[in-house]
């Protein structure tokens, strides 16, 4: 799976959690929390979806490093 495919998967799951956002408005390098209204329940649900889609484990200790779409795509690329 290419990094582009991973990125589209990440964005698709994000849109499933926060359907009010427009895909075109998302920046890969801006902080997610500045772009999308995600509370801790949304964040956890988002990660569970990524876990199921990419079969990747995301420990809580990694949350602090996963702050942008780019971070998430890179993490999944390395750990799947």
């Amino acid at each position: 799976m290419s990094k582009d495919e991973i990125r589209s998967g990440v964005v698709a799951e994000l849109l499933a959690i926060a359907p009010e956002i427009e895909e075109g408005d998302l920046s890969d390098t801006e902080l997610l929390r500045d772009q999308v209204d995600l509370d801790s329940m949304d964040w956890l649900n988002f990660l569970v979806r990524l876990h199921k889609r990419f079969e990747v484990d995301i420990p809580e200790s990694q949350y602090a490093f996963l702050r942008t779409i780019e971070d998430l795509t890179g993490y999944i690329d390395q750990h799947r």
Binding site: P19, E20, S40, M41, L44, N45, V48, H51, E60, S61
Partner: protein
């Protein structure tokens, strides 16, 4: 013979529109089964039946708006043989008998001027599909809201010169499903009116008093981190479940905060059914209950909370979740505020608030330390309790959160 009546779905709801029957005469039903869907301004509420039995007769047709307490159906008790329907005794306590007779054309109330159009979600969807302009319609639903029936009726009369037959157009399968956010936004408008009614009543009737207490969270968060490290991501716990459990256990110990103020007196509740204030993405909020919180292990509470939030945001709740909260918890910490002082949802008598957990300077044992703390607050009904007991109640929540392993 049992009368199955329209249940109360919270202090701000006195009528609802029957949207769907999930059972038909002759069906066996069990306690807790969902038998109908009723549209209110807050959500499409799945109505649970609280008796075992067999459905004998459906008394209210789909599309009709009826008052709380109106018999919706009759059930035969297990073992009871069907008698003639005419043998049915008149329901003594039917509060609105006129509503139960199938009134084909409810006199249309004149549309209130000056507020925005209230349209039920299913009606709005159908209007788009059938090409009906909502602006020209007069609503017959709760508070003048436009219902599915109004839209179908308008569509039928627009297409036929002669008086329309009872409209039963199939819902076209080609209709583009709306996004959850879109649906939430639509519901938000009508919901505003419900929130306004409940909160105005609260501030008019309930003499609130307010208390606050800063809780050191480090032990709870450290314990949670350790727990979650050993759990698969699908079973991870959020701090919110510790708060819910601590509030429920404290409410069990201090029963004057758990129950209802009714008929000039306090009625304590038997279980701790904690209402969770859930903000919706399109605006508005609901505070449905998780049942028996004090009895449930944290993992089960987490699963319940996840499920409840998802269904609340999808606009699909159950009647017991709407009617049963005995105390409410509101957590606005994630929105960045230090503290929240809630408005009590009538007829409850208390609401506990949590603000944002953050590192703050505190004094512990005479020394200055940096600790993660959260502001807890209590808004309580002064008719049911006094500040001194409220202080002990908040202190008990604090004490419980210092021993997360015992929650």
């Amino acid at each position: 013979m049992i009368d199955f009546v329209m249940p109360t779905l919270g202090a701000d709801m006195d009528e609802g529109t029957l949207d769907e029957w999930r059972v038909k005469p002759g069906d066996a039903v069990t306690r807790g089964q969902i038998v109908a869907v009723v549209e209110t301004t807050k959500a499409a509420v799945e109505i649970e039946c609280w008796h075992d039995g067999v459905v004998q007769e459906l008394l209210v047709p789909v599309g009709q708006t009826v008052a709380v307490g109106t018999p919706l159906a009759t059930l035969l008790e297990p073992g009871e043989s069907p008698g003639a329907p005419s043998a049915r005794p008149e329901p003594a306590a039917a509060p609105a008998p006129a509503e139960t007779s199938p009134a084909p054309a409810r006199p249309a109330p004149s549309a209130p001027v000056g507020h925005r159009l209230w349209v039920s979600p299913v009606a709005r969807r159908t209007a788009v599909t059938l090409g009906v302009d909502l602006k020209g319609l007069t609503g017959t639903g709760p508070q003048g809201a436009i219902t599915l029936r109004d839209v179908e009726h308008a569509a039928a009369t627009a297409h036929h010169e002669k008086p329309a037959p009872p409209p039963t157009p199939p819902r076209p399968a080609t209709a583009a499903p709306k996004s959850a956010a879109e649906k939430a936004r639509e519901r938000g408008a009508a919901m505003r009116a419900s929130i306004a009614a409940a909160m105005s009543r609260s501030k008019r009737e309930i003499p609130h008093y307010y208390l606050a207490n800063e809780i050191i969270l480090d032990p709870a968060l450290a314990w949670l981190t350790e727990q979650n490290a050993g759990r698969p991501i699908t079973e991870r716990l959020l701090p919110a479940v510790l708060q819910l459990k601590a509030v429920a256990l404290a409410a069990r110990k201090f029963p004057e905060f758990n129950g209802f103020w009714r008929d000039d007196g306090f009625q304590p509740a038997a279980g701790q059914h904690v209402g969770v204030a859930i903000s919706l993405r399109g605006g508005g909020l609901v505070a449905p209950a998780i049942h028996d919180v004090s009895e449930k292990p944290l993992a089960e509470l987490m699963a319940d909370l996840t499920d409840l939030v998802a269904r609340a945001r999808a606009g699909s709740l159950r009647s017991s979740e709407m009617s049963d909260p005995t105390i409410t918890v509101t957590n606005l910490g994630e929105k960045g505020v230090d503290a929240v002082f809630g408005v009590i949802y009538p007829e409850q008598v208390a609401i506990v608030g949590f603000g944002r957990p953050a590192q703050r300077v505190v004094v512990v044992d005479g020394g200055i330390r940096v600790a993660t703390t959260v502001q807890s607050s209590l808004a309580a009904d002064h008719r049911a309790s006094d500040g001194a007991r409220g202080a002990l109640f908040l202190a008990e929540i604090d004490r419980l959160l210092q021993r997360p392993q015992e929650l």
